[in-house]
Amino acid sequence: MSVSASVATIDRQTVTALFSSFGSALDAHHDARDRVIKASRDITAASKKIIFALQRVKYVDAEIQRDDPNKAGIKLDSKIAGDIGGLERKITDAFGAVKDDLQGAGAWRYQRQISGAIQEYIEALLFREYLMDRWILSHKEVQKLVGHEFLVTYSDYILGLLDTTGELMRFAITNLYDVTASGVVQVSAIAKQICQLLRTLRIGFSALRVNSSSHTSSTEFVKKLNTLYNSVDKVEKAVYSLTVRGSELPEGWIPGDDDDGRI
């Protein structure tokens, strides 16, 4: 009798049932995603705290393992070591909470959500390992430390490594000089080593060919690469200044004061 009657056969209940089933699939996905984002925040925050704790270590005050001069690393005092241990446990717990969500297809599905945290954690791992053992961990070594149940992409490793260079620069600047027994101010061994390491990284990274249109994190890479160039410049400049003027420095001079907080 009326036109609308011809379409009334579409079943409202079926639409409801269909979309309800879609809804539960979407809800499960959103819940997993939210859990990963939360864990990601916790991991990032704890990793940053580890880095800050390591930056507070005064190289000159720290007990240094002297057995191998090339590998001479820092021994952390028990307070800092304890703090870092606590933070590490937080990170392990946060990873554990999303272990199931990041399995199988989830590893890549939520990669973007966990990626930032992984990079930050890599930064903490690399920085600590360098200070303790004077060694830059490889991707494989990092994957082992994070755990094989979690995906550490090569891209995250590289970006984490580039972030670490900023921390190394800070550490080199704050620990720029030693005062010898005879009272002479000189460039510290650690500053020299970091300077050399940053140059190595600069050479290696600047030779990489990154196809900007094809690599997901290439813009980030280029940005971080520029930061690395600046860090190398800062350390080189600081080491140079101290080398030239070191012997004339007044007591109590703090390196980096003339840098206008650019560090």
Binding site: V7, I10, R109, A207, L208
Partner: protein, 278 residues
Amino acid sequence: MLLISFHHTVHAFSADMASAMDLEIFNKCQDSIDRDSEIRENIRNLTKVIDQHMRSILSILSTAHSTPSSSFPTFAARTTKSFQFQKEAIQKLASLASQHPFYKYNALWSRTLQNAAFAVLFRDWLVNEGNAYIAYHSGSSKPEERDEPTETSKENDDVRSKVGQLTSLERVCETLGVKPGLEDENTFHLTLEEYLQATISLINELSRLALNSVIMTENSNYSTPTRINYFIKQLQAGFLILNLKNDALRSRVDSIKYDVKKVEEVIYDLSLRGLIRK
């Protein structure tokens, strides 16, 4: 050439530089970038082919906007060949993509598959609509009686027949030659989000068709806009069931209300003039 120059740079490292790190890191990094670029390039080339077939299908289907509803099944049939080509191209993509974790490169073809799914939904809708139109207007004074048996016969069928003209996810996958969205599988599939996005594209397209079908209507048979109105309102109600986050799907779902409004205005105009009975 470039690869050679890179390895030369590695030779530029002095011996003491190697003490704090494994210089292989840079080679491995380059390898990883090169491999990734190559895969992306290959996937992009395949999506371009799929897009091309999708465009030729859609150009045929968009005839709907300038022909009477009764001709829908006829020209929809002309897409069969392109659908076949598209299916073959998608299968090539599927076999390449299956070599990698599914979500690693999913973003590269997601839009392509979404559009391809929309083409299926639109074609099926048009065929159904054309048949419904012909059935309804073939001199019948009692349309309910004519429509009843066809719908009842489908009732025991899959979800597709129950929702009427909305082709189910499983059926769309079948037409495209992919697996349906198996959430936890790493195999190549059409995701639920892609299917829902395609459904919204259908709603968009139909809101335009509601207007154009009025222009093209033969003998004052204005049943197509009425069916569109009913259909998209059903879907709108369906989308309201979903808990959406602030993501791409959300913003498109929000756009449905404008399509509904557009069609309602057509219905209003027609009923105001007594061209359809409510």
